[in-house]
Amino acid sequence: MSHRNDVRGVRDDLDRLLADPTADEAGLAARLRLLRSTAQGPPPEPTPALRRLLEHGAPAVVPIRSRLAAQAAVVERRRRAVRAGFAGLGVGVKVALVAGAAAAVTGVAVVDPVPDVIREPTRAVITQLGDVVAPWGRGARDGTGRGQGGDRGDRGDPSDGTGGSGQGSRSGQGSGTGQGKGVNDIDLDGRGAGGEDVDRPGAGTGADGAGRPGTSGGAPSSGAGGRGADARDGSPQGQEDSGSGMPGVDQPGAEGGAGSERGTPEQVRDGAVPDRGGERAPTSSVPGSSGSGAFLGPTGADPGRLVGPTP
């Protein structure tokens, strides 16, 4: 029976009609009571699914409000535990943790076994981050180093073997350079290759031309070209690389590729003349036979396609 009152505590007209109908309302009240009576009685037969529930029950449920409160409590407890744990660490441990995380990220970018799919984006992020943190070092890092030749061409960055010029001429025309270089310790500085080869045809270089910034094999700090390249690549040991060793022979595959040509021992010696290549290379339009993609044109705009002069 709907004897409950409305919110305002006032008995509404329906309740009054059902409880105290007037003479005119008697018929209506009787029909409404009849309607109400139809809502009383035994329930209908449940469907099989509902019957199972009514006979066997179901797992207990926890009201959602209680569940949410419990979950929030768990999350807050874990958060406090992490905070407390971190706060309890010493400064040294904290520094070690941060450094370890940074090293892990950096390691992903440089460790060979890591797939390129992962390395490249990570490396890009690190490079961009480095640009933000130290924008003045960009030229040296990315190996462009354009126009930094200077008199001695000694802008090579020993740390990565890529940057700087190493092609610099004394006349100041030295241009660009550092186009990739020295993967690991294969070569010290292929950049010198081009210049040196002009002066000393066939002088070995065998650089790993493709720009691989950030790798090891730093160039010597000065006179990049000639010395670095010849000193090693021209050596007999250097012949184990892919270079043909034919002086002055063009090796198309040398462009930007893995160290290609290697000089003979004599050429090695020739190539060992310090700094000469570095002086002439920029003025020569005929790059040497170096496989290094390091040589850039006078403007440093294009990677040198290294074609050696015929002997």
């Binding site: 009609l17 008697a26 018929g27 009571r33 309607l35 066997h56 207990a60 409000r65």
Partner: protein
Amino acid sequence: MGDLDSALTAARSGSADGFAELYRALARPVVTFLRTRGVPDVEDVTSDVFLAAFAGLGRFDGDAADFRTWLFTIARRRAVDHYRRAGRRPATQPLEPETDPRSVPSAEQSALAEIGDQRVLALLGMLSPDQRDVLLLRIVADLTVDQVAQVVGKRPGAVKALQRRGLDRLRRTISDEGVTP
């Protein structure tokens, strides 16, 4: 309501008795409500309504009165779904005394026998859907104005207005018919 509150508590704990008690207490009003809304297969739909309500107990937070409101909200949605699917105005379905297991007070039943259930339901069919919903939920589901407002998604004032107009319409109709109880 105390019994229903304890039944609701038992149902939350997974007790079959709690589910059964809730079903026994509320199934018949749901059946009547759905039937007057013209829903076919009323028993099956009623079972679906209860299954949905029992399955959603984890999301429900309230007492027995709130559960009753929630149950009829589900039932009304099912009726609306049927109404939309049918694409027509719901027709009232006459009661079938020989299959109707109701047990009502014999005095009241005999007093109203000459009027007949069909006339009662036909009377409700003269109301607008909103007026009929409000009166059914007030009379059959035994909900307060505020609870009905929650079920139909209207303000309590609007529900009161619908109820008043519906009763006036019924009053005029009966007066025009000249039927006396």
